[in-house]
Symmetry: C2
Subunit: 417 residues, 2 copies
């Protein structure tokens, strides 16, 4: 049994009826003997409305006031869930970030949790009271409300689980983590387990299942995370299996995954634009002179590939970014041309990044070769390649995305039988 | 100049556009050299939505959770107004009840303010920062959010003004206090000044201009209160007159009212039911045996008239209450009949209470006689009479309400010329 943090996102608490459904999930875990803390997001649509009001008030606005306004969404859900729990006979109380307190740094709008003082909550859990904590928020050194940035409720939940030494179940509108996007890969399978590292790569690649920072936190504090569906019936016989064969996907340490796959999943992101700088002076500081100004312009750069050029003295450099940022990026680079010292700049849109992820590739040779062959067999040209310890990404023509993802899914033996 | 608390209600902050209008009122006062604190209600409609969610969650719900949910409405307005003020160049920050802190007792849902520690706000005001405080809320001894009950933002404003030793301007959707209801009395005049005591009587009689408790607080702490319109243009030349001849009505001490009228206003409330108990045993404790059980049943009793009966040994007792409570009241009294010991009970609906209010009647004879004559001249029968030091109320047939109010308005010389 032990302690359990359950986290429910915006669509799971969209109205009072759904909040009642959430209460039944909580009831099940309480009856199974757990000490339960719940972390909730704002009712879906609520945060957007609050954000829009702030924008209507002023295009550029004080992040501290934004936080005070926007944090109210989670406060409402927490109170309502506590009421509904009490109604079905479960002792419960709501906790706002400042009440716990969830201490954060002072970066309003995108704060990081520094510490959670969960002593009072721990005491209440032991007395059988369910704690319902408003996610996404804390209190800064200035004693004002801070928010963690969009999706921050996952992070709140994992941080609370770390403070309570609890496991953490993230209830979402999907029932787990899949080997690939089921919308384009019919044969995608739900993974029963996945390592933190792999989940982190998937999250950074845009899989919306978990927020990147929550996975990082889970990894650092070794919080077992389970991704599961809030829409599966709360009393389904599937629900109470904690061995990783249950209804969701367990994100855990590598060692806990018995049958390690070489590759666990295939991810993709379309909408990649590509910029190539040719014959860049190959001297210290040149990368900084390129990516510094882009960062200042708040342009996120994704893949970066640098290679020596044919003449041997200069380098060729390619990077990708979101299509929408391309025009601004080109302007920035043109402005900095003299400082950077490149001879040619070219660009292309319509790219897609396809990645294979797997902790097993650390110890297996030939993973990359299998990828390149599978793509080549389908006549798919590779524009750029980057690798990390547990991921290989290639940039291809976006038109081939689905074909490539399905081919790789089959090639690495991920297809459901 | 000096310190000023400005309070804006729900309709004055109904959307961001109206909040911008409020900001212009604040700007005017800042430019006039005031140190300004603002107290805001929730955007109109917002509180109802939050209350309905709580009711949907559970018909009977934890008042502490209700408070946490409902207090979010004012929190949102305070943040938005701070943003809008900053946008027009006025330094401002929002304050939630727990941040100030506004300390209250622990009666969730209907808390009373115990103390406001306004030191930090005072410091900031002196530095030129406008404080925007969320009304209607505070923090209880349990460190949880408390709300003051409906309309509590007026009370928040007056309490803050008391703590800041400031005057308090209550901006509302009417432009002041009138001698009577302008909807039925064409010749009703706006009063430039009214005493706390008179305002208190008017508020208890259902004039919705100010909440009763806010007037009480203002009286106790001698906070000059001004009722004025938030819909008059912020830059109207009328706005900056502080001598009581300005656009609103000043609620102040009797001594500050130079030309004291004998009667300041005529109020009425329809919807009065009447219960009469005849030949009640005239012994100590009999009133308690009647009104105790009614209070327990949460039935508010309004006028109470007791008189000796014809036989001299027993009393006759009449009281009024809202029509909707009549049936329940009769049931309660029937149940308690033996304990109370009355011989006959009768009742009537369709009554109206008409009151003349005036601090001047303390020192003037004949005020009551004038009232009775004016009513008698119009053939209006009086069912019951109660008096206080500064008020005479009569119960009449509701059909004659408008006629009676207009007749009295004329009789006491209140008609506008």
């Amino acid at each position: 049994m032990g302690r359990l943090v359950m986290k429910f996102g915006g669509t799971s608490v969209a109205d009072v009826e759904r909040i009642r459904n959430v209460a039944r999930h909580v009831e099940r875990e309480v009856k199974a003997g757990h000490e339960v803390a719940v972390v909730v997001s704002a009712m879906s649509g609520q945060t957007d409305r609050l954000v829009n009001w702030c924008r209507e008030a002023a295009a550029v606005h004080d992040a501290r006031e934004y936080d005070a306004v926007v944090a109210s969404g989670e406060q409402i859900t927490a109170g309502l869930l506590a009421i509904v729990l009490q109604e079905i006979g479960i002792p419960a109380r709501s906790w706002q970030g400042w009440q716990v307190p969830v201490l954060t740094d002072g970066v309003h709008g995108a704060a990081r949790i520094a510490d959670i003082n969960a002593e009072e909550i721990k005491k209440r859990l032991e007395q059988g009271q369910v704690a319902v904590m408003a996610g996404f928020q804390g209190i800064g050194p200035d004693k004002r409300i801070t928010t963690l940035g969009r999706g921050g409720s996952d992070t709140s939940a994992v941080a609370l689980a770390a403070a309570l030494e609890a496991r953490c179940d993230i209830y979402t509108d999907v029932d787990g983590v899949y080997t690939s996007d089921p919308r384009i890969v019919d044969k995608a399978r739900k993974l029963s387990r996945i390592s933190y590292e792999e989940m982190l790569e998937l999250a950074s690649l845009g899989a919306k299942v978990l927020q990147t920072r929550s996975v990082e936190l889970g990894m650092v504090y070794r919080v077992p995370l389970q991704v599961r569906s809030s829409f599966e019936a709360p009393d389904s016989p599937n629900q109470n299996r904690e061995d990783g064969t249950g209804p969701g996907t367990l994100v855990c340490e590598e060692e806990q995954i018995v049958e390690q796959q070489v590759v666990s999943g295939i991810a993709y992101s379309k909408d990649e634009a590509q910029v190539s700088l040719r014959r860049v002076k190959d001297k210290p500081g040149v990368s900084a002179s390129i990516f510094g100004p882009l960062a200042e312009a708040e342009i996120s750069v994704d893949m970066i590939v640098q290679n020596i050029s044919a003449d041997g003295d200069t380098a060729n450099l390619t990077f990708t970014l979101a299509n929408k940022d391309l025009k601004r990026a080109l302007d920035v680079l043109e402005r900095e041309r003299a400082k950077i010292g490149f001879q040619e700049m070219s660009h292309a849109t319509g790219g897609a990044k396809v990645s294979v992820i797997g902790i097993g590739m650390r110890s297996h040779a030939g993973v990359a070769a299998k990828m390149f062959k599978a793509l080549s067999d389908r006549g798919i040209n590779i524009r750029a390649i980057t690798t990390s310890e547990i991921k290989i990404s290639v940039l291809i023509d976006a038109a081939y995305t689905e074909l490539a993802v399905r081919a790789l899914h089959t090639a690495y033996g991920l297809d459901a039988t």
